[in-house]
């Protein structure tokens, strides 16, 4: 029996390729080469690194290539440590837990043309998208790759450059290109997307501010913002048995706050119907959103996966 739930997809490092310019390509596979959870073109995953760091990287391969996750990692000597750990410590055969893939391009039936803008190593999600679009056909695309001088993943991009699908802009020679002229006019059947440094994304968002939102895509390495009830308020959980206080952020579940605080809570459905996370409450005004407790039970218990609080402080029998 495992004491802890499995929270990541277990992968094994099956290949490490030196791709030049301090970039390594890592290929992650299931230990039995089983299909991996599916992803959209240009999606990204979190890697739970052996040293405890969690870092997010775009997938370079395309969705049809469904038994591998390929990521390109540029070693940033002055970074926060994720790329150094991957470059210096991760070897073939190492086991790495990863998240389910997130993000990437939604399949848009009405899109006839894509214009992509990438800055440096931000090209990685567009490799996935380009491979996908070339394989599926029928949709025109061009990728404007803005680099200081050297083209990252040059060997992988060469066929796309030769085919005119990738246009390289070197800022060391011509300065930063004008994004508005690269993107052209907004069109209902045109989708534009950007991935790169924050300053480039800010420029991109400024230029595309008047475009229909559905035709603009920005690839950022963070989870989509949670949909928070505008009336949700933060509150404090007071754990009577341990004397601990835990803050619950607006819109956060009590369960997530307790787990962040290191409190082990049994869970199952996480939707308020199975009863696994039933906890006694002592003082406060709980908001019950479960669908199984009777009015009588609600006077003493709540389900931490869905319950909230109508008061600033809620005392739990924990």
């Amino acid at each position: 029996m495992k004491a802890r739930p499995i929270t990541t997809v277990r992968t094994v490092v099956a290949d490490v390729e030196e791709a030049g310019d301090r970039i390594k390509l890592f290929t992650l596979v299931d230990p039995d080469r089983w299909e991996l959870p599916p992803f959209r073109p240009g999606a990204h995953i979190d890697l739970h690194l052996p040293n405890g760091l969690v870092r997010t990287y775009s997938l370079c391969n395309e969705p049809a290539d469904n038994t591998r996750y390929v990521i390109a990692v540029k070693r940033e000597a002055e970074g926060r440590g994720g790329s150094r750990a991957l470059h210096d410590d991760v070897r073939l055969g190492d086991v790495i837990g990863v998240s389910l893939p997130r993000g990437g391009l939604e399949a848009g039936a009405d899109i006839g043309r894509h214009v992509f803008v990438a800055g440096g190593i931000g090209v990685t999600p567009f490799l996935s998208m380009a491979r996908h679009l070339l394989r599926t056909g029928g949709v025109d695309f061009v990728l404007h790759l803005i680099v200081r001088d050297e083209v990252p993943l040059a060997a992988h991009l060469a066929p796309l450059i030769d085919a005119g699908r990738v246009v390289v802009h070197r800022t060391s020679r011509g300065g930063r290109p004008d994004l508005a002229s690269l993107l052209g006019e907004a069109g209902a059947r045109t989708l534009v997307a950007c991935c790169g440094p924050e300053s480039m994304i800010a420029d991109f968002e400024r230029v595309t501010a008047s475009w229909p939102a559905g035709n603009v895509h920005v690839e950022r390495f963070v989870a989509p913002p949670p949909i928070i009830d505008p009336n949700a308020k933060p509150f404090t959980l007071s754990l009577a048995r341990t004397g601990t206080e835990i803050q619950v952020r607006a819109g956060q579940t009590m369960l997530a706050a307790l787990q962040e605080g290191g409190v082990d809570i049994a869970t199952s459905c996480c939707g308020g119907i199975c009863g696994a996370c039933k906890v006694g409450w002592i003082e406060g005004k709980p908001v019950h959103r479960d669908r199984i407790l009777s009015p009588y039970e609600r006077e003493r218990y709540l389900m931490v996966c869905v319950a909230g609080s109508d008061a600033d402080r809620l005392v739990l029998d924990l």
Binding site: R4, L36, P37, P38, L100, G271
Partner: protein, 173 residues
Amino acid sequence: MLDTVSAGSAQNAAQLGWTGVVRFLHFTPRAFLPMRAAEQINLVAGRGIEGDRYMIGNEEGFYSHKPEEGRQVTLFELETLVALKRDAGIELRPEEHRRNVTVEGVPLNHLVGRRFWLGETLLEATRLSVPCRHVEEITGKAIFDPLINRSGLNCKILQGGVVKVGDIVRNAA
């Protein structure tokens, strides 16, 4: 008052009966990984499905940290997939509900506590499955609410054997 179905009704049910069929078989070796379709699977009495994440001894499933005898094999009604499409406009494929056996013509919700034949194997239903956010996370489809009370059946395996697509499902009353 309604702790048990009356003997007369149970007898009627057994006599009137039902006969279903195995439409799809799926398994996966680890949590989160896609379910793979199979033409046949091997059920091991008292343990689970060979190669599946919940086989006792494998403990590779999302809920394996909470052992449960009745998770040896799980079933799901094909009719529920049809109803999801019809009532909620959600297209859920048989590999997406993450139960092992998709059956047609089997009243799963009526079988809790009862024994029935799945092909040559004998199962005992222990409880109804409940929907979970985990499957929503994997599929990206809002299926939690529509699957309340029709999320399948958890069973233990009393007599093992090979189960094939097309096998008959019948009461063992």
